[in-house]
């Protein structure tokens, strides 16, 4: 009997070292590991908790990690060698949408909300009004220079006429220190991923003023980055890993699994924080739907080239990259072809195009996909912009 089991589930398999940070949206990787989804696909995954994005980047660059749950701008920075030695990476799968908060100290958040309400203006305009006449730029924390948080926060501030450097001073503060930094006045607010905004709120240190969704609904957040060399050497294991992550993403997205996922993530070896703080941004676990990480619905796992190009455009906007051929880079790193190849045997609906018009939908819509269409949520930006890098011909 035991031999049959051994044949069906080969011991070992292809080794895959995956780095992650203590964040709610590391969930798909953690679930895929704990439930044996990787093992069932012949992938011998090892999950390594890292304390910083810098460690993730360096360990990918020097081959101590084969893959990571990463913020996409950092994957581009590693690929381009912008912060140390360069390493070719690919992103064959996205892992989450949304989940970030802009959290401000209680007093300031209260002032901004009150003004926004009484004047009927956006929160970012209200913040700008509150900051008028200040001698010093407002100190705000972000988690890394090459993070989605830096790009989303700057985008949001810009729509209120605020500029980093002039009106606010951005500095990097690890989210686990953000509560302390808010209390000591070192920063007046921060933009970070779940559960850290909730943890600051629970500690009474800050109040969530805005979320990812209020900046860009369905904003891409974490992605699965793999060293290109590993991917080339293990094409079947790569497909298996993508399938395992997609399966885990479906689990994490199902509302009935929220408390299970929250309890799993709260373990000491993963996030090591209160499971209620984690639950507050899980689909099905949240009391309010203000700040949700989404893992599967709305083609959340698909690596859209239009996401890649938006990140690269914003990185260029804030002078975070040198001159670079953005189209070629997006095509090299984001790999929807590998995603489709991995999912082919599962019969799941997969988008037909590689890019979409980001921001074009402020109501639910249907995406062309095969074998059947995919129900999508709104994807509008806070300023109503539409980012359509690769216009597709109108279907007839």
């Amino acid at each position: 009997m035991s031999e049959v089991v051994a044949l069906k589930r080969p011991r070992g398999g292809t080794k895959l070292r995956i780095g992650f940070l203590r964040l709610t949206d590391s969930a798909p990787a953690i679930v895929a590991q704990e439930f044996g989804y990787f093992a069932e696909e012949g992938v011998d995954a090892e999950l390594l908790e890292e304390p910083s994005w810098a460690n993730i980047a360096d360990k990918l660059a020097y081959g101590f990690l084969d893959a990571a749950v990463i913020v996409p701008p950092l994957a581009f920075a590693v690929e381009l060698g912008l912060r140390g030695v360069s390493q070719k990476l690919i992103i064959p799968c996205n892992l989450s949408l949304g989940g970030n908060t802009i959290t401000l100290s209680r007093d300031l958040a209260g002032e901004v909300r009150k003004l926004a309400g009484s004047e009927g203006i956006s929160k970012q305009r209200a913040l700008a009004a509150c900051l008028k006449g200040r001698a010093e730029p407002l100190p705000l924390g972000i988690v890394h220079a090459y993070s989605t948080h830096n790009l989303l926060l700057r985008y949001w501030l810009a729509t209120g006429g605020l500029e980093a450097g002039r009106d606010v001073r951005l500095s990097v503060v690890p989210p686990a220190r953000a509560v302390e930094a808010l209390q000591s006045g070192q920063i007046a607010g921060f933009c970070a991923g779940a559960p850290w905004g909730e943890i600051a709120a629970r500690a009474g240190a800050g109040v969530t003023l805005a979320t990812s969704d209020e900046i860009w609904r369905a904003a891409p957040e974490k992605a699965f980055a793999v060293r290109a060399r590993w991917a080339e050497g293990h094409p079947e294991a790569l497909k298996g890993a993508i399938r395992a992550l997609v399966r885990a993403a479906q689990f994490c997205d199902a509302p009935e699994n929220a408390s299970y996922t929250g309890a799993l993530l709260s373990r000491q070896k993963y996030l090591g924080v209160d499971s209620h703080a984690i639950l507050s941004s899980l689909p099905g676990g949240a009391v309010s739907q203000d700040n949700l990480s989404r893992f599967w619905c709305g083609a959340a796992t698909f690596p859209w080239r239009s996401h890649a190009l938006w990140f690269l455009q914003q990185m260029a906007r804030w002078d975070l990259t040198g001159p670079v051929d953005r189209e070629a880079l997006a095509e090299r790193v984001y790999r929807p072809d590998l995603y489709r190849a991995a999912l082919a045997p599962l019969g799941l609906n997969v988008p037909l195009s590689d890019a979409k018009a980001e921001g074009a939908h402020d109501a639910p819509w249907q995406l062309d996909a095969a074998p059947g269409p995919i129900a999508m949520g709104p994807d509008s930006f806070c300023d109503g912009a539409v980012f359509d890098p690769i216009p597709t011909p109108a279907s007839f």
């Binding site: 360096d58 660059a61 101590f64 912060r83 988690v143 500095s171 990097v172 690890p174």
Partner: protein, 194 residues
């Protein structure tokens, strides 16, 4: 030429040991800082080199030091021309940032000292962890045997063989089997009451 080195470490003793070693060499002036005020320390001490414990999340702040300092762009020194050296540093859990463009040959012996010291501490830590694990395992085996002897009226050698056989049948480590067994038994006991 004396370099100014900013040393940021979680381990007080290790930081002191490394600081002394580098100061004695006469090549370096060593200043120390807590992780959380790193940006201020860089501004104040204008170090040529930052040596930092990779276990600190604050390392991310160094990646953006351009925004707080007029220093030249931060590069992770270890990556310059010798990937082997960099790998050794990462494996030891230490890394460095070159802030002032000082030449690699001046930095290399300093980093070599840091790597050696981190390796030595890591070695001690690993040994301690291994010793502790062994002790825990022995304690758990004793506990599991006691449960078997009491509940299933086994003799001590029988109990031990039973555990060994279970581990062999499930092709798992004895330590894992024993830990799981004790946990289950104790959970069952809590449910049924004393």
């Amino acid at each position: 030429m004396a370099l100014t080195i900013l040393l940021i470490d979680t381990d007080e003793e290790r930081a002191r040991a490394l600081g002394e070693k580098l100061s004695e060499s006469g090549f370096a002036r060593v200043v120390r800082a807590r992780g959380s005020d790193m940006a201020a320390a860089v501004e104040r001490d204008k170090p040529d080199l930052v040596i930092i414990d990779m276990a600190l999340p604050d390392r991310d702040a160094l990646e953006d030091i351009r925004s707080v300092s007029s220093a030249s762009p931060v590069v992770m020194f270890a990556g310059t021309d010798d990937p082997g050296f960099a790998q050794e540093a990462i494996a030891a859990g230490v890394c460095s940032y070159n802030l002032s463009g000082v030449a690699l040959q001046d930095v290399r012996p300093i980093m070599a000292s840091a790597i050696a010291l981190f390796q030595r501490y890591r070695h001690v830590e690993t040994e301690l962890a291994a010793a502790k694990a062994l002790l825990d395992e022995r304690r758990l085996i004793e506990r599991a045997k006691a449960i078997l002897m009491k509940n299933r009226k086994m003799t001590e050698p029988e109990a031990y063989r039973w555990l060994q056989k279970k581990a062999m049948n499930e092709s798992r480590k004895l330590a894992d089997i024993v830990a799981e067994f004790v946990q289950q038994e104790e959970a069952a006991k809590r449910e049924t009451g004393p």
